[in-house]
């Protein structure tokens, strides 16, 4: 497997999302919510049970990011093993917030190096019916943005993998 293994730190995390021209863009991020899938816990306990029991309900995978407001022009997203080529966060997010179109999204966890295929990533390659939508884009008085992403109805489940995700 290409890429490093082992522990890492946040400076090797990269975030990319599809923009309003259906192209993946890397944007500056300085904070990111918990990344991954979480299932609703449905309590199935009966009086007669010796211990509480649950089943997994519907999964969900919301993602929330924040970072510096940036109106730079869009740049071509980097390939595996290449330092991210950042597009402006405002340039990308102001075009996709509220857009009724499933978006590709990729959170890449480089392991002590710029993300390289083979290292962990979480996300989804968009199709006409699968992907994320952006539902919130706010800019604070400190000129840091906050954006929220949830999945499009009927979408397939995003997943952990080791290869870059793509736009629709």
């Amino acid at each position: 497997m290409a890429g490093n293994t082992g522990r890492t730190v946040s400076r090797f995390i990269n975030f990319s999302v599809e923009d309003d021209t259906d192209t993946m863009r890397e944007i500056p991020v300085s904070d990111i919510s918990i990344v991954g899938v979480v299932y609703e816990e449905q309590d199935m306990t009966a009086f007669q049970d010796a211990v509480k029991g649950s089943l997994a309900g519907m999964p969900d995978a919301p993602i929330e990011i924040s970072g510096p407001f940036d109106n730079s022009a869009v740049a071509t997203a980097s390939a595996s093993g290449v330092v991210p080529a950042l597009s402006g966060s405002h340039t990308v997010l102001s075009g996709i917030n509220g857009r009724l179109h499933p978006l590709g999204l990729d959170v890449q966890f480089g392991v002590r190096e710029t993300y390289t295929a083979g290292e962990p990533q979480f996300g989804i390659t968009a199709t006409a019916t699968s992907g994320y939508i952006c539902t919130s884009y706010t800019v604070g008085s400190d000129l840091m943005y906050n954006a929220k992403f949830v999945l499009f109805p009927g979408s397939s489940l995003p997943a952990w993998g080791i290869a870059l995700e793509a736009a629709s």
């Binding site: 500056p28 109106n71 509220g98 008085s141 000129l143 949830v150 109805p153």
Partner: protein
């Protein structure tokens, strides 16, 4: 010089007044869609949502508590009356004072309050804004556009080719748009408009239907407002720019913002 920037390069205009000389902070500049859960749990792999109504509002403006001798343009006099709808334009400069083409957040919002407080010994005032003012709702659920004309005096008719702002795609958009203006000074009547073009030749520019202030008197009271395109489906070409027709005026100082409808 696009890129990251700092709060000190932000400018705030409210109801025809430049509040930048009083403002300390403003925000969060909100644009949040309610995520509506449309999960069909018997068939879907994962929870899915569509965006519902957006909530748009500029958050809270924090200003220094300041009066002036003629009770006219200082923050305390301009913002001291709450429960009123306010035309707001927030322009964000690129590590310098905002210029045409910089990002701008704009709309007409309800001013919910005006409350003085002491912050570290300084007497300041908080001006919370609510969402889009209910009696002036437009068909546009997006607040971000560009500054079409930075606050400055215009002393003659018209703009020129250098004033075009590139919308980014050669394809015209078909969702109309709106403009917000703040005239802070002047000496007569004038009409401010938005124009569009498929080229950057001034001679190709044509008015965008509906995006006009109409004739306004700039020498008596400050002028401000919001104008929308004639219809929501008005086509707008790649390049846009401001224009002004001086009628009896010889100088008009104004800031103008423009939002291109994207959906």
């Amino acid at each position: 010089m696009a890129g990251r920037t700092l709060p000190r390069f932000t400018r705030v205009y409210v109801d025809g007044y430049d509040m930048s000389g009083y403002a300390r902070t403003i925000g969060p500049l909100g644009w949040e869609f309610e995520p509506v859960d449309l999960t069909a749990q018997m068939g879907d792999e994962v929870k899915g949502y569509l965006p519902g109504h957006p909530t748009i509002g500029p958050g809270t403006l924090n200003v220094v508590f300041e009066t002036d001798s003629d009770s006219s343009t200082a923050a305390h006099h301009v913002l001291g009356t709450q429960n009123d709808d306010r035309v707001v334009l927030v322009a964000i400069g690129d590590r310098a004072a905002p210029i045409a083409g910089n990002p701008a957040y704009m709309g007409e919002f309800l001013q919910l309050g005006y409350q003085a407080e002491v912050d570290g010994g300084a007497v300041v005032a908080n001006v919370p804004f609510g969402p889009w003012e209910g009696s002036s709702l437009t068909a546009y659920g997006q607040p971000w556009g560009t500054l079409a004309h930075a606050l400055a005096a215009s002393d003659s008719d018209g703009s020129d080719s250098d004033d075009f702002i590139d919308g980014g795609s050669s394809d015209a958009t078909a969702f109309g748009g709106y403009m917000v203006w703040h005239v802070t000074a002047g000496n007569g009547t004038a009409t401010i408009t938005m124009e569009h073009s498929t080229t950057t030749n001034d001679s190709d520019a044509a008015a965008i239907g509906g995006l006009t202030t109409g004739e306004i008197n700039c020498d008596s009271t400050v002028q401000t407002g919001l104008a929308v395109t004639t219809v929501k489906t008005t086509s707008i070409n790649q390049y846009t720019k401001w224009n002004i027709s001086m009628n009896s005026a010889t100088t008009v100082t104004f800031a103008l913002g423009f939002v291109r409808g994207r959906y």
